[in-house]
Assembly symmetry: C2
Homo-oligomer: 226 residues x 2
Amino acid sequence: MQPQQCPAFFKQYFTFWDQLTPAQQQTLCAATHPLHCDKGENVHGTGGCTGVLVIQSGCLRGYLLSEEGREITLFRAYLGEVILLSAPCAMRQITLEVMIDAEEETDLLVIDGAAYANVTSENIYAENFSLRAAAARLSDAVWVMEQIMFMRFDRRLAAFLLDEMDKSGSQQLKMTHDQIARYMGTAREVVSRMLRYFTAEGIVRQSRGTIQLLDRQKLETISGRY
Amino acid sequence: MQPQQCPAFFKQYFTFWDQLTPAQQQTLCAATHPLHCDKGENVHGTGGCTGVLVIQSGCLRGYLLSEEGREITLFRAYLGEVILLSAPCAMRQITLEVMIDAEEETDLLVIDGAAYANVTSENIYAENFSLRAAAARLSDAVWVMEQIMFMRFDRRLAAFLLDEMDKSGSQQLKMTHDQIARYMGTAREVVSRMLRYFTAEGIVRQSRGTIQLLDRQKLETISGRY
């Protein structure tokens, strides 16, 4: 990365920048380079240490891949988001192996994993930043896995949306998350998070208290009915 | 907690003790009390902030509970282990709701969640300790969920152990983890972790290169065959 662009870039995304020594700052600048990914390209696989990714444009998807080729999406990340799970060598606590693909044409800045690990091992502010980001993503991952694989809440919500839309003969549902949660006997937060997941999957679009169906087939598949 | 016992207790379990101010040390001492739990007692439920738990004797089990009452064990913790997931108010990144029960008669020291949160918000070393411990448990939780609910590796390993023991007509299997991994086309680490899980569940006992079957019925249930 050009030395003159580097401080502004790190200050924007990494809250610990001002707590680094000049030598640590130079280490990170020298270890950062741009990477362009085509749509569908695999950015990080299991077993490697690709580095810390900062999204400059486009979208990355993190997922688990079973031996039979089944996938479960753990997160989608957009402009300005920082991905730590692609740098397992910088996070000894974390043994999760996640795959990361570019969902569309994507521009990244990549910080080499070994250089980043050196800085986090020396600087507690950098280490805390990384642990906090990783813990948040892992907590979300457990939540998604719990809801989808254990509670089957995705299935129940899909069935509910299909029922309600069929009743009214419409592709739209005018209900708040709170109302849906009361109908389904769960918490509003659970409904909101799962609708965010459906939105990210391109199944529905949400606006002004309305849920608009975009992909009925996907929703039917999730509901397990058809 | 008695003021004279307090520093020794915290020094033993919390590496950040010497980095606290005297006021922060007093806050933690005043907020720590012993708790005795009977076998089977629920220690922490969802929605609450029970506090940070330090096990003095016995065993705690952390698990997820589905609405239909199905459980998935995420961890077991023993003497000297510190549990942070029972203090969600001290960990804003973590939205995971885990249930924790005493698996046997258990003595705990409990540090009030709000007091602990005050200290971690003020002291970066305390925050670092907590984030690291939470990230490690979350990473393990994702691994267990992935293997059990997604890969069904528990099922495959159970079937393998039953097959091998039936072939030899024995309750014992003399194979290294490495050999099993090669037979099953996976990594040694995956086999070792799942055997640790089976051991914790009381299904097998491991010693000197031998796996001894303790509970055939549980293993058959996991294998999905009977």
